[in-house]
Symmetry: C3
Subunit: 379 residues, 3 copies
């Protein structure tokens, strides 16, 4: 934790992929379950505080709650409870230096703040990103037919995308990223919708997991000219990580490069070098290393440096992928800044670039790229 | 080779995966063939001493044999012969600071020391890990039937597992790690055994390579509550490394997470970040970077640092995977200590954690995790 | 950019894989399109100068053209135009310290210098590597039959391979590296050739993309005892990178290890650790990290260090994979030297090896390995 370069410390950030925070107090189990991608805390392991992210909470978050660095986890949680979740959320969110949050509100929507609530807590702007699969599932829940699905989905997406700045696909979580490059024909979509509706009628839960339909949803985003985010790589135990290699999207990226619509590869760890390659060779592809940034704690700068090997600076984005705990926004932001600062400080020391270039890199990655892609209005 | 942090240098280690040492003198060709995972030394390349592990032998092992650092390979091997293999084995094994060796005795069993012999040479405790495939192959050699295989295997495993602390699967070497998550039904096991027996009767060597049977063996370990080790990743030229990605085990890990039985992912290089992810999201999964630790020589700390990005400290294990040459125990142990020490020293310098936490991390990884998982009695 | 170790700065280099340079002036768009593997410059991103390779051009190439370090891209391109392409090519090529260039002249052959022209510009030796697929495609263009293809190809390869030092397969670009280990039978080759000829007759362009035929071409190289290069990993947007993992060649490597013919894995990024593994366990396999070396700019030393983890020093090769821009030869060479120098300087400081060993490593990787494998005559 060396001091940050001034122009990194002060850089406004656009967090182009995150979620809401929980607005209720949590106990130790609840805190640990939201701290990493693990959903179970078990005596087989030990506390999840014993991990780089746990150390990062105690080193970097404790002082924000007026505690000494490295305060024990129990002290930390006691102080957190004492301050109350609203004060904790406000302190961490406002310490991030984030000007704009782009929220995917589709994950456990009832349990976390809405976009408007996050804007209020953080005293910043917040924008909606529409989770495509959630729209499709709501259309099915509301009642549709095989033949009518495409039109019903289209109408509902139009309704929800009004005011939204982008869409997001979670195909990675459902069928993996091995999506074909071809736009599915209307008959294929109707057939796939029919199979899905039959499964739902037979009692299965309403959960989209069909390669044709995920692909149809992505093209619906492309057709609207809305930036399309993809979950890629690292996630929780629901994901088959070997099916979430961004390279599996190569065919789709080739098919969509003429569209002029940005494709945003989220997270990417441990495939981030592959994402950087895609961002170099496909003019409409962008990438970040959100989620791993806070999970890897003091190793986050090393991960970011790997992404920087091939990615053009105009393609690099910042996100936290924070969910639930306000600490994650603080850590993701702080560790991203630290990664940029460490990288640039040593490059400046070796005279590998000028300070002017270093400042431009920070501006591009911190906010200019996201503002350009998502067409955010200047503040 | 900066000085180790005191609490790392002095930490007792449990080597949770290794093999025996050769008890006879070896010539230069024999030494080189055991030094790395190469099984041929060829004039197309040059001496395998010209590699990071070769440099590590000369820098780190030569002084143990009273030679100056960087002694030429020929001097090193001459001194080794002069001291004799028993003295060499004793010196290196006793210099490791290892309290317990967990031995897989199933690889080339006739050529190396037994568990009892290793305990004697090292003046430490040694425990057995039963190689599942060896048991199955011995059952076939002893004579069984398709219908009787499961019961015969079960009886023989019971006999051999008495006193053992775990079992090990080498499915990676035979069919890869793409094992289904489902427990095979008795009829499937009998059918697969029948196919195997037919191949053996037709003159093929007794070598298990059948996805159903490897899977059956793993479930037999799970049913006994014995920790199950998996060879993952890096190995010799017999392995199809692209089939040894630990992520291929995701389905099996999901299926076994309710069992409470630990799954131990061995080696993992170059997939160690993926193994760390699995150890984070599955409460019963643990991982190490044995084998690459000594092979990567001075780069071992860099490899360990990557594992540490996501792995909870309660899931990190130590192993050498040493086989044959006593130098490999010494190198694996020393380089693991160096990796921990380097990581912690720089983290302490940056005030990323407290010394108390650093000491706990070393205790967990060095011996507490292994003692807990394998239920080793306190010494 | 710390000063290089003397014996690294002065080491003669054999660039075992590169292409010709363009002999005409290029505008900014043309320069950017040749700078990285991107073939389109788009307002969605920003200038490709904003990338590590762009910074490297401005930091490391500008002084060769008498400009201050970090000169703006526009100044750099203006100065380049002022000097003229011949002078620019001569300056950069002669600054590399390369004694021998091994040229694959098969990529966009009309647009760049020939082998003889490169030798003249660089005042060094230049040798031919024959691109196998180009020979096969020319045989088809010249007119052949299904039954006659193998013989016609054989005759043409014999003609072109006279004086060549090796052959190269671009199967990676066409069908991926999942080539079977078996030598295709003559009837299979004739069948595959017949299918290809039928496609050509139906109006498809003459473009080889058939697993059987790519494999046949590789064996033709093996049979002649000519070192066989494989494009592996990183390339432009035509490549399906997930099909270019060198591990997919494992079966073919097993099948050819008895031949005594070297197999050269080119580029390999981001699979370079896997290539290093193959080079360790297969006695006839060699690897480099060309192409990524200049693209990764100041991160090139980090990439090289990963390759060094497992690769025996007798298996490490140097290449730039430079194409078109003379800057790429300069960057590839300079960054390879810097990678070796950084690695060895810190290893020497830690007393991990002796200077004698460091010097030998540089000699092996810089030129001795290539001279031995390609049987180049001493200069």
């Amino acid at each position: 934790m060396t001091a940050l370069l001034d122009f990194v410390a002060d850089a406004p950030l656009i967090d182009h992929h995150c979620h809401g925070v929980v607005a209720h107090d949590v106990d130790r189990g609840g805190f640990e379950r939201m701290l990493t991608e693990a959903d179970v805390v078990s005596p087989l392991g030990v506390s999840l505080f014993d991990s780089l992210i746990g150390l990062a909470v105690r080193a970097r978050c404790a002082p924000v709650l007026d505690l000494p660095k490295h305060a024990p986890a129990s002290d930390y949680l006691a102080r957190r409870a004492e301050l109350g979740v609203t004060e904790v959320n406000r302190r961490f969110l406002r310490a991030t230096g984030t000007t704009d949050f782009l929220l995917d509100g589709g994950f456990q929507p009832g349990s976390v703040t809405t976009t408007a609530e996050l804007a209020d807590l953080s005293n910043a702007r917040a924008h909606d990103v529409v989770r495509l699969e959630q729209v499709a599932e709501d259309v099915v829940r509301a009642g549709t037919t095989a033949a009518g699905f495409a039109a019903d989905f289209d109408a509902e997406l139009t309704r929800r995308a009004a005011g939204a700045v982008g869409v997001k696909s979670i195909a990675a979580y459902r069928v993996g990223l091995g999506l074909s490059g071809e736009r599915p024909a209307p008959a294929e979509v109707a057939d796939a919708a029919g199979r899905w509706l039959a499964r739902v009628e037979s009692g299965e839960p309403v959960r989209l997991a069909d390669e044709v339909l995920h692909r149809h949803l992505v093209w619906a985003g492309i057709d609207r000219g809305l930036p399309v985010q993809f979950h890629v790589g690292y996630g929780d135990s629901d994901v088959d990580l070997h099916r979430c290699d961004p390279l599996l999207l190569t065919g789709l990226l080739r098919a969509t490069r003429g569209s002029g619509v940005p494709i945003l590869l989220l997270h990417n760890y441990p495939f981030h070098r592959r994402a950087a390659y895609l961002a170099q060779v496909f003019e409409h592809v962008f990438a970040d290393v959100g989620l791993s940034t806070h999970n890897a704690g003091l190793r986050a700068p090393a991960v970011l440096a790997e992404l920087l090997e091939l990615i053009p600076f105009g393609k690099l984005l910042f996100s936290t992928d924070a969910f639930g705990l306000a600490e994650l926004y603080h850590l993701g932001t702080g560790l991203f800044r630290e990664g940029l600062s460490d990288f640039l400080r040593s490059a400046l020391a070796a005279d590998e670039l000028s300070e002017v270039d270093a400042i431009r890199l920070v501006r591009l990655a911190g906010h200019e790229n996201a503002a350009r892609i998502y067409r955010l209005e200047p503040r």
